[in-house]
């Protein structure tokens, strides 16, 4: 194979390692590495788009003996989103970044990319650690009281979550003697039932903390509120997306059972309702956006749990929801730096993002909700449909209030900053109009 997905991890790591030698140009070198990653992720995406799933072995051993990277349409799309938005976001905030911030930013991106492209569950845990440790430091980087509060809450919950993930993996290994996700999936039936469910519970709890799922998301509002705008934007497209991908792998590949589907479905519905209702009651813009993110993650979890039942629209719905959420939320978090949207670019970014989130055609968010409804109708889940509608109304209400309050003309954002926001929001339109997602959702997945 000519394509080496391992470079998506190796290049940011070596760059982060050498930055301390070239302190002065740290941000520029980091920007170069992120640009390389973006280009490579785009290349891999289109390779997978036209040729289907690919893999790469590490250290030359066959998969269950060594580690391998397994890339299918789902992971290629997520790697693309993470690296693309990482670059656009870094254009906005790179100017004021010092070299240590750039290193941590690179490590967070490398970790999130690693989570989505690896085919080994312990390797995934290692990348969770990298992402989480980098995120704690980035959140606390603002060095005021609120930032420290958010970082400490995240750190305590995140460390407990890591040990849960590790115990879950150890339980699986004790029974099957393997760490490869697809080898586990092939032999999951031979596991002792009780240990199987215990390991599922441990993994869902551990990854759920990172994926902002109720009731494990106590850290989310404080962390997003305390972090600087660029970091809040990073948190909304990299670690949370990578974690929801990990949950999707759990649901779709390792534990594709009816009971796990029902648990995840109702956890998702509760997360959606609580997130949206809490967002409605917030006064602070960043807290409102953070609670709204929780609601959106709940909706993505509903979509993935339906997808585990082989409903054809559910996977399309989840991909659209991920794209829409990444594009809109990262743009809105950047926008929260100024109290009012001013100038054409920031008004465009704000309005497009809000419209995509509340589900206006033909933006990506609309297609997400549309196909989610279709999938739920196939399964005749009328209560779920009513609750999603209700959450949508609440969402529209608070976003209308947000637009009413924040359209104005005073502010002091630089042109570059505004242009990056507009670029991010444009992806909600672009993915809504292009047929990329339909094709990518129809390709075969690893372990499928």
């Amino acid at each position: 194979m000519v394509i080496h997905p391992v470079l998506l991890i190796a290049i940011p790591l070596i760059t982060a390692f050498i930055i301390p030698i070239f302190k002065k140009y740290g941000a520029a070198i980091a920007g170069g590495a992120i640009a390389f990653n973006m280009g490579y992720a785009i290349g891999i995406f289109f390779h997978v788009y036209s040729n289907g799933k690919i893999y790469e072995t590490i250290a030359g051993f066959n998969p269950p003996i060594g580690i391998f990277l397994a890339i299918d349409s789902l992971s290629a799309l997520l790697a693309l989103i993470i690296n693309l938005f990482a670059f656009i976001n870094f254009v906005a905030i790179g100017k004021e970044a010092n070299y240590k911030f750039s290193m941590l930013y690179l490590l967070a991106i490398a970790g999130s990319t690693g989570i989505v492209i690896t085919g080994d569950i312990f390797n995934m845990f290692v990348f969770f650690e990298i992402t989480a440790v980098a995120s704690y430091a980035l959140i606390a980087g603002k060095k005021d009281k609120k930032a420290l509060e958010g970082a400490i809450k995240y750190m305590v919950l995140g460390s407990i979550a890591s040990s849960f993930i590790l115990i879950g993996i150890a339980l699986i290994y004790s029974q099957l003697k393997t760490l490869n996700i697809y080898d586990i999936a092939a032999r999951i039936a031979s596991m002792d039932a009780k240990i199987k469910w215990a390991s599922f519970a441990m993994l869902l709890t551990g990854i759920g903390v990172e994926a902002e799922i109720f009731p494990l998301n106590g850290w989310v509002p404080s962390a997003y509120q305390g972090a600087s705008e660029g970091v809040a934007s990073l948190l909304s497209f990299a670690p949370s997306k990578a974690a929801i991908y990990a949950i999707a792998r759990l649901m779709l590949v390792i534990f594709p059972f009816h009971a796990t589907y029902e648990i995840a479905l109702w956890v998702g519905v509760i997360t959606l309702l609580i997130g949206e209702l809490a967002a409605f009651m917030q006064e602070d813009v960043k807290r409102m956006l953070a609670y709204s993110s929780i609601g959106q993650m709940g909706m993505i979890l509903i979509a993935f749990s339906l997808a585990s039942q082989d409903l054809k629209y559910a996977l399309i719905a989840s991909l659209f929801l991920i794209v829409s959420h990444a594009a809109s939320k990262s743009s809105l978090f950047l926008l929260s730096k100024s109290e009012k949207m001013h100038g054409m670019a920031s008004k465009y970014a704000g309005i497009v993002s809000v419209l995509s989130l509340i589900g206006m055609p033909p933006l990506a968010g609309f297609w997400g909700k549309w196909y989610l409804m279709l999938a739920a109708m196939d399964e005749k889940l009328w209560l779920v449909i009513i609750l999603i509608f209700f959450a949508g109304i609440v969402e529209t209400a608070y976003f209308a209030r947000y637009l009413h309050r924040s359209i104005g003309n005073d502010g002091e954002l630089s042109l570059r900053y505004k242009a990056t926001m507009a670029a991010m929001a444009s992806f909600a339109i672009l993915f809504g109009l292009l047929p990329l997602v339909y094709k990518i959702a129809s390709l075969p997945l690893w372990g499928g």
Binding site: I21, I58, P64, L104, A110, V126, A137, A140, G141, R187
Partner: protein, 242 residues
């Protein structure tokens, strides 16, 4: 009220964990067809389990006599690169967040025995650390414990002499270069062999110092990296305390 609820939840969790772990099969049983692994790329089922493959084939495939090292550095070397990065991230985070307080406070001098003793112990600590990571593929140990032993030598000096310091710039250069060497060895594997972190030099005779291919090289890089990282964390914490 909250306290009792917390205790109740913790006890429930404890009982749940005990009930699972009591059922776990013993660690040494890895034979039997239930453990035969399946290659996810071509779907072929092997006639052995993953641990038994490691035990039987390590010596032939990697040339290392220490199977644990072979698993850590060769079979799962990518995880080790990740773990090194976790430590690096933590060290960067510490130095990103801690800022120096410019208060000149004299600490009390340590007593004579600590002062003279640490002078004698330091070279031996450095030598032992280096021995542990250079012989990682032959004897128990490796880059992480070796680096920690080196850092403990510097910690002893920091405790004994209030004015002792390690050159910050040099530490960070060592850290950067040794980390890069790890990734470069990986990339050379991609270039000269077929995949990242693959062995590309002859494995030599198992049991000799110059054997096991890239394992000793990677462990030397890790040893330097861990040693300099932990020393710099210790030094940073000391500066803030003053």
């Amino acid at each position: 009220m909250r306290k009792y609820a917390g205790i109740a939840v913790a006890l429930l969790f404890f009982a749940f964990s005990i009930s699972i772990f009591i059922q776990l099969i013993p660690y040494d049983s890895y034979e039997g067809s239930a453990y035969h692994y399946k290659n996810p790329i071509n779907g072929s089922v092997a006639n052995e389990s993953v641990p038994s493959h490691y035990i039987k084939e390590t010596r032939n495939e990697t040339g290392a006599v220490n199977a644990v090292t072979a698993i850590v550095v060769e079979y799962r070397g990518f995880d080790t690169l990740g773990e090194v990065t976790v430590l690096f991230t933590a060290a960067t985070g510490v130095s990103f967040l801690l800022y120096q307080l410019h208060k000149k406070m004299q600490r009390r001098e340590a007593n004579l025995i600590t002062k003279e003793g640490s002078k004698i112990v330091l070279p031996f600590a450095l030598l032992t650390g280096a021995y542990i990571f250079i012989h990682g593929h032959l004897t128990p140990g490796g880059g992480f414990p070796g680096g920690s032993v080196i850092a403990s030598g510097f910690l002893l000096m920091l405790l004994a002499y209030p004015k002792f310091f390690v050159n910050e710039k040099r530490l960070s250069y060592i850290e950067s270069i040794s980390g890069s060497i790890f990734v470069i060895i990986g990339l050379l594997g991609l270039l000269l062999a077929t995949s990242f972190l693959q062995n590309f030099i002859p494995v030599g005779k198992p049991g000799h110092l110059f054997s096991a291919g890239i394992i000793p090289l990677i462990y030397i890089a890790i040893g330097f990296k861990v040693g300099s990282e932990l020393s710099s964390i210790v030094q940073k914490l000391k500066e803030v305390e003053e």
